[in-house]
């Protein structure tokens, strides 16, 4: 591997990321999958970095899941997105930040369409006006939430209490980074680092002290791939794709997987459990799985937040081996306690994967 070659490419794919006054839109699914991630993003931006982030309760899905599953026509998707922009305009914001990778891809696609086909933009303005009476301005800046964390990665590190270093050996943790397909594969220039060697998560890992693993199936889909999972008959493809990735990354002995998409951590996490039950295989060391984190969860760990406040107890692959390497204290007794301290019940232990 010639790292200078990657660095040269990274220089070519820089993008502008606004530094304050964000209009934030949530993902349809993330709060169910990894419930604390979006909350942690808001906490870091507002409380740690003192940024102005606004959410409008009237915002809806971007319709991306329906669009990519061929049940929502493009005109409908564009009009739904126009409505999101009208909420941003009414709220007095110009910097649009989206939590979801598929949304980010769809916003990019819609804005590029409008840029190249201004007549389509005029039509959509008409549709929105007719349907809702609303008007809108185009955002001055569109970023994915991982872009924003990337932009402030050094500030997070400087406030942090932990680095991505094994506190027992002093060696950098070895990290698999996985980028959601809709982040930059469609529009390489919209992603930090481009499409083939994205830098958005690499930058966080390296600047937080870790070491990135580049393994043969790095670019491959996590296994979500809407038609693979949403069409029930295709779910075998979904787990087969995930398995292909786990087998490819296993020889590199990653300490954890870092993701920036709603679906990817879900499928990496849940399918490791499913594969261990189906085939008795585990991909980490000593019968453990490979912990999977979102970039917000990782930011929270760097900043010293309580792992259970980050929702790490709802991961199906236990994160304790990673916490031990990082030297992050945790209380096993409160792992399955609710915020009010009441016991929420302990899930059944997996048959093969080591459970804590």
């Amino acid at each position: 591997m010639i790292i200078e070659g990657k660095k040269r490419l990274w220089q070519e794919y820089q993008k502008e990321i606004a530094d304050d006054r964000y209009f934030y839109v949530r993902s349809c699914v993330r709060q169910n999958f990894f419930p604390a991630s979006e909350k942690v993003f808001l906490r870091i931006l507002k409380e740690e970095l003192g940024k102005d982030v606004y959410e409008n309760a009237a915002h809806t899905t971007c319709s991306g899941i329906g669009y990519h599953s061929d049940v929502v026509p493009f005109e409908t998707a564009m009009t739904v997105i126009a409505r999101q922009f009208s909420l941003m305009t009414e709220s007095g914001y110009e910097h649009f930040v989206t939590s979801c990778i598929t949304s980010f891809g769809l916003y990019s696609e819609v804005l590029e369409t409008w840029k190249h086909f201004p007549d389509v933009l005029q039509k959509v303005r008409g549709y929105l006006k007719e349907a809702t009476g609303r008007t809108f301005e185009l955002p001055k800046n569109v970023a994915h939430a991982s872009d924003v964390i990337f932009r402030f990665r050094n500030e997070i590190a400087s406030r942090g209490t932990h680095r991505l270093v094994n506190h027992l050996t002093g060696k950098p943790l070895r990290v698999v980074e996985h980028i959601g397909c809709h982040y930059s594969k469609m529009f390489p220039s919209k992603g930090v680092g481009g499409a083939e060697y994205p830098y958005v998560l690499v930058g966080m890992i390296e600047d937080w002290g870790g070491e990135v693993i580049d393994y043969p199936e790095r670019r491959h889909c996590c296994g979500f791939g809407f038609r693979q999972y949403i069409v029930r008959a295709n779910r075998g493809y979904s787990i087969a794709n995930s398995k292909k990735k786990f087998e490819s990354m296993k020889p590199y002995q990653p300490d954890f997987i870092l993701t920036n998409c709603p679906g990817c951590p879900m499928f990496f996490d849940r399918w490791q459990y499913a594969l261990s039950e189906m085939e008795g295989v585990t991909y980490g060391q000593n019968g453990e799985g490979i912990p999977v984190l979102t970039y917000e969860e990782l930011s929270g760990l760097i900043l010293g937040y309580d792992p259970w406040d980050l929702g790490l107890q709802v991961h199906q692959v236990p994160v304790e081996p990673l916490l031990d390497k990082l030297g992050i204290p945790y209380d096993p007794e409160t792992k399955f306690a609710g915020k009010d301290g009441q016991d929420l019940g302990r899930p059944d232990a997996p048959t093969h994967m080591k459970f804590f």
Partner: protein
């Protein structure tokens, strides 16, 4: 009055045109940017289709030039002033030249393989270009992976930067197909036990003996040609290269590992050619190569009287075609000079 022709570019086309014009009694100044004339041919080991050494052709062209042409190396033209019937050239050295006719033979550049990011050139250790492989052949250095291993599996990716809308080059570079076949055979000559694969869209064996060479590659050397574009490359832990391809003849996705991957890079117009064209207000095609006055009947003339084109400034050319084209250009220049 002595009539002078300045030829810019001392590659195959420039050298040939200079010799022909001198043979016709014209005074010629040949300007070359590098230390020596010869252009890309200097870097090529053996030539298709008969695999004769490149230096044979280079020596022939050099001997033909002899002392009858005023060759000036390490020269760059900074500005060109077009007079009514002549041209004034300012050189970076500070000198200036007057001429009655000007021949642009500034050739081509090779496509920068780093632009095809998915192939990992200049990122993965064992991805090289056809030009680098040729240089290895020429130097006689042992051909190994970067880790010093004898390659057991070698892949050749055709059309790198050619016929590629994403790269902005819709044109065919003509010579990469046959170069790929030639180099694949040469690898088999060196490593008979190696498995060699060519990944192609279609193989354009357009000239004499090319198709026979392609047959030889398959029948005698057992080289496998797979129709399909490589979609991505990645590096294994042992630095071998993992390829993903769709084999479009069997309609199946394919994943395989090679020890060495060779990218057959195509032609791109040289920035120097475009700079000179802008100075002379010459038309440039959508493919960014220069447009002759008429594609069929005045292919070495331009719309500007006294300015002529030869070789790869007009698009991809093989060596034989560049030599023939340069001969035509010399005749056209000679005819033009007689009218002055």
């Amino acid at each position: 009055m002595t009539r002078t022709t300045v030829i810019i570019g001392g590659g195959v086309a420039g050298m040939t045109a200079a010799s022909r014009l001198a043979d016709l009694g014209e005074q010629v100044i040949l300007l070359e940017r590098e230390e020596q004339v010869g252009g890309h041919l200097r870097n090529w080991d053996r030539l298709f289709p008969n695999r004769r050494p490149g230096y044979e052709v280079l020596n022939y062209l050099t001997e033909e030039l002899g002392s009858k042409v005023d060759i000036r190396c390490l020269q760059t033209v900074t500005t060109i002033f077009s007079g009514e019937r002549d041209f004034q050239l300012q050189l970076a050295s500070g000198k200036s030249l007057r001429c009655d006719a000007l021949l642009l033979a500034t050739g081509f550049d090779l496509f920068d393989a780093r632009r095809k990011e998915e192939y990992g050139y200049a990122i993965y250790d064992n991805v090289i270009t056809s030009a680098e492989l040729e240089e290895l052949f020429r130097s006689g250095a042992p051909i190994t992976t970067r880790q010093g291993k004898v390659p057991k599996r070698v892949g050749f990716v055709h059309c790198v930067g050619s016929r590629d809308e994403k790269a902005g080059n819709l044109y065919c570079s003509k010579v990469c197909c046959v170069t790929g076949v030639k180099q694949a055979i040469e690898i088999k000559e060196l490593f008979p036990e190696a498995e060699v694969f060519g990944f192609y869209m279609d193989l354009r064996m357009f000239d004499r003996h090319f198709e026979e060479m392609y047959y030889e590659a398959q029948q005698k050397w057992d080289i496998n040609f797979l129709r399909g574009r490589v979609s991505e490359c990645a590096e294994n832990q042992d630095q071998s290269i993992v390829l993903k391809i769709e084999d479009t003849l069997t309609s199946r996705p394919l994943k395989m590992t090679v020890d060495l991957l060779v990218l057959l890079v195509g032609f791109v117009p040289s920035p120097e050619t475009l700079r000179l064209a802008a100075m002379l207000d010459l038309p440039v095609g959508e493919d960014r190569f220069l447009e002759p006055a008429d594609e069929h009947t005045k292919s070495t003339l331009t719309v500007k009287p006294g300015v002529f084109l030869a070789g790869a400034v007009k698009g991809p050319f093989s060596i034989s075609n560049a030599i023939a084209d340069a001969g035509t250009a010399a005749l056209q220049i000679h005819a033009y000079l007689k009218t002055l």
